[in-house]
């Protein structure tokens, strides 16, 4: 059996980076990729992320075994409980719980922590930290930084508490959402949505859309590459470049229209008459019922623990 902590089985060609040249310029200069180019290469990151998620979702962990409906409802319950928590201690306890669940589900903890913290909580910190300064929001200054008109100015206790509270809440919430998505294959997640009453038409649309993201991403990449292969000089960010981007998306709109027609015809040819039929959702096992009960108990514990802390 494969080791749970082993690197993901993602094809190497997806991870290939552009050839790095010497930074001193002795063997030529590397031009900084444009935002457009970086976004297109970011497409491979997206595929990597999705494929790695599927790798994790196939591991024999505890969350992977659960019914997706239970996981969806449980995650929502825990998200609400975390959203209603007023104390950092409660949120730290909830984070420890999420890390425990991740470990129990054989998710590599270093990857999990990096994936969660690297973007949204750090971005949140940048956004909310100014609120901790007394010039932005009034409060009791505990870190004196400068004096203005005889008044001490700096970081306030209320501001720091508020910032820490929101950063922790965001981190725990993102961790819960990431844990749900990486331990559930996309198809099962959609089955779970259907099991919870989301109309079949919407679920089928989401499922089809998911597949076409990659096709359209490839079409955008092809268009960009074909233009790049026909130009002699470096791309200028001028009106012509904007017109090219507009024309590319316009072409994409046209392609989408044609594709939708073709897919519809293919569906009709296979017997589609506007009604969506699908296999019934699986029945819940004893472990699923136990998990549902556990998630209710955990959410109640988070809330009552928070109330016990007062305030």
């Amino acid at each position: 059996m494969r080791d749970a902590t082993a690197p993901p089985e993602t094809p190497a060609w997806l991870l290939r980076q552009p050839v790095a040249l010497c930074p001193c310029g002795c063997i030529g200069k590397r031009q900084k990729a444009s935002y457009l180019e970086r976004t297109l290469t970011g497409g491979s990151d997206l595929m990597h992320q999705v494929m790695f998620s599927e790798d994790v979702a196939r591991l024999p962990g505890v969350l992977q075994r659960l019914d997706p409906r239970v996981k969806l409802v449980g995650t929502m319950l825990l998200l609400v409980a975390v959203g209603l928590a007023h104390h950092i201690t409660t949120l730290l306890a909830a984070y420890a719980l999420v890390l425990g669940l991740a470990w129990w589900s054989r998710v590599a903890l270093a990857f999990f922590i990096r994936r969660v913290w690297l973007f949204i909580p750090i971005f949140t910190a940048i956004v909310v930290l100014p609120a901790a300064f007394s010039v932005v929001n009034d409060g009791d200054v505990i870190v004196h930084l400068w004096t203005w008109n005889g008044e001490p100015e700096g970081l306030t206790s209320q501001g720091l508490f508020s910032a820490a509270l929101i950063i922790m809440r965001v981190a725990v919430s993102v961790s819960l959402a990431v844990l749900l998505t990486i331990t559930t294959p996309w198809g099962r997640l959609l089955n779970g949505l259907r099991g919870l009453g989301v109309p079949r038409l919407i679920v089928l649309t989401i499922n089809m859309s998911y597949r076409y993201i990659f096709l359209l991403l490839e079409a955008v990449g092809d268009m960009y590459e074909s233009r790049k292969s026909r130009q002699v000089r470096a791309v200028k960010h001028d009106a012509a470049a904007r017109a090219t981007v507009g024309a590319s998306i316009g072409t994409l709109v046209g392609k989408c229209g044609h594709l939708a027609e073709e897919v519809h015809q293919a569906m009709v040819a296979r017997g589609y008459r506007g009604e969506v039929h699908a296999l019934d959702a699986t029945k819940m096992a004893a472990i699923d019922r136990a998990a549902a009960l556990t998630s209710v108990v955990l959410a109640a514990a988070i809330l009552s623990g928070d109330r016990l802390l007062g305030g």
Binding site: T39, G42, G43, L46, T75, L79, V80, V82, G83, V116, F119, I120, F123, I126, V128, A131, Q158, G159, S162, L165, I166, R169, V170, A171, V172, S173, V174, A177, L180, T181, L189, I202, L204, T205, I206, M208, S209, I213, L215, L216, V220, R242, A243, V245, G246, I249, G250, T251, L252, V253, G254, G257, L259, A260, E261, V263, H264, M267, V276, G311
Partner: protein, 359 residues
């Protein structure tokens, strides 16, 4: 503009889902009625397109990035209801695949970017384009203005939702539990990058795509522009399709967006709370005007005096209730005026028809 989980209170997120759910139901019914069984592949592929458009980020000076949503383009090509579904699904992918935008806050994000953005943008586009031909330059400009206004309206809505958090949700010691910035800070913080960078992205994208479709694939625009001539030399412009209900609904939506701004205004205007609040010096007055003194408090039989219950309890709830009652009354008055105008216009049209044979 994607609000992650943890920024908004669960109560605000619940309001987002409650507001978005009926719109999703109406949108899926409307789209199914228009395009019949073609709806699934059409919506699926345009949802993927919206997702791809949102992937193209442009850095902005405050360290974050901005991107176009493409909601107005989709609304122009397929109609605003189709844009509601397409952008909502794209947002769902972003929340689940990237963790960009939250699971609890999905309803609120959908209201901002999948409802307000395409509807406001499309309404502005329709008004600005009028009955101009599909290939006219006016339509490109209208698309740009629609994109610009649409994304800024969505940003304003997000700013209001974020800015209401410290007003409505505080701990017992008065510390904000969610976003710590009030409306006075969230509105400039959200609108500045959107009025400059993101608004331009959406405007340029919408105009460029429209311009390309005019040149290369104008038939793509025909289904959602019934009665509009392709070139200026074609058919006569169609009559206005504005109904009193639509006008009242538009007024209601604008009021819903603008109402929370009242929380921003410091003090009272022209001594509205009490004549004693008037800054007499600044107004060049020596005393409170006699008329104001006499008639102040003349009518006190109000249902929600001072936007609150008589008991003074549940101030926030009473404020929201006052806003809902006020908006409903204004919408009813606009609807009634619209009906009267429609009846008068129908009567004058009838007179004209009757008069014509004698002319």
């Amino acid at each position: 503009m994607h609000i992650p989980d943890g920024y908004l209170s669960p109560a605000t997120c619940a309001v987002g889902y409650v507001a978005a759910t009926p719109l999703w139901v109406v949108a899926s019914r409307r789209v199914t009625r228009v395009v019949k069984s073609r709806n699934i592949p059409l919506l699926a592929i345009f949802s993927a397109l919206s997702f791809i458009i949102m992937m193209f980020n442009v850095p902005i000076p405050d360290g974050t990035t901005a991107h176009a949503v493409g909601g107005v383009v989709i609304a122009i090509v397929l109609g605003p209801w189709a844009a509601v579904i397409a952008v909502s699904i794209a947002l769902l992918f972003q929340a689940l695949l990237f963790g960009d935008g939250g699971v609890l806050s999905f309803g609120v994000n959908a209201i901002n970017m999948a409802v307000i953005l395409p509807f406001v943008g499309y309404a502005v586009y329709r008004i600005a384009a009028g009955g101009a031909a599909l290939t006219s330059r006016r339509r490109v400009v209208a698309g740009a203005v629609g994109g610009y206004v649409g994304i800024n309206a969505a940003a304003l809505a997000a700013a209001i939702e974020l800015g209401l958090q410290p007003v409505l949700f505080k701990s017992a010691s008065g510390v904000p539990l969610y976003v710590p910035y009030d409306l006075g800070k969230t509105i400039p913080a959200m609108l500045l990058p959107h009025l400059t960078v993101a608004g331009l992205c959406e405007a340029i994208l919408t105009a460029a795509v429209l311009s390309y479709l005019q040149r290369a694939d104008v038939q793509r625009l025909v289904p959602n522009h019934p009665g509009i001539p392709i070139t200026a030399g074609d058919a006569a412009p169609r009559p206005s399709r504005l109904s009193p209900g639509k006008v009242a609904l538009a007024v209601g939506i604008v009021l819903v967006i603008l109402t929370p701004l009242g929380l921003l205004a410091p003090g009272g205007a022209f001594g509205e709370d009490a004549p004693g609040d008037l800054d007499l010096g600044a107004l060049g007055l020596r005393a409170v005007p006699a008329g104001l003194e006499k008639y102040n408090g003349f009518w006190s039989h109000t249902l929600l005096g001072g936007y609150g219950f008589q008991s003074g309890d549940h101030a926030n709830l009473a404020y929201i209730l006052s806003a809902i009652v006020g908006i409903a009354v204004v919408m009813a008055v606009v609807f009634a005026l619209g009906k009267v105008a429609q009846l008068l216009s129908a009567a004058s049209g009838q007179e004209q028809i009757e008069a014509e044979p004698h002319a």
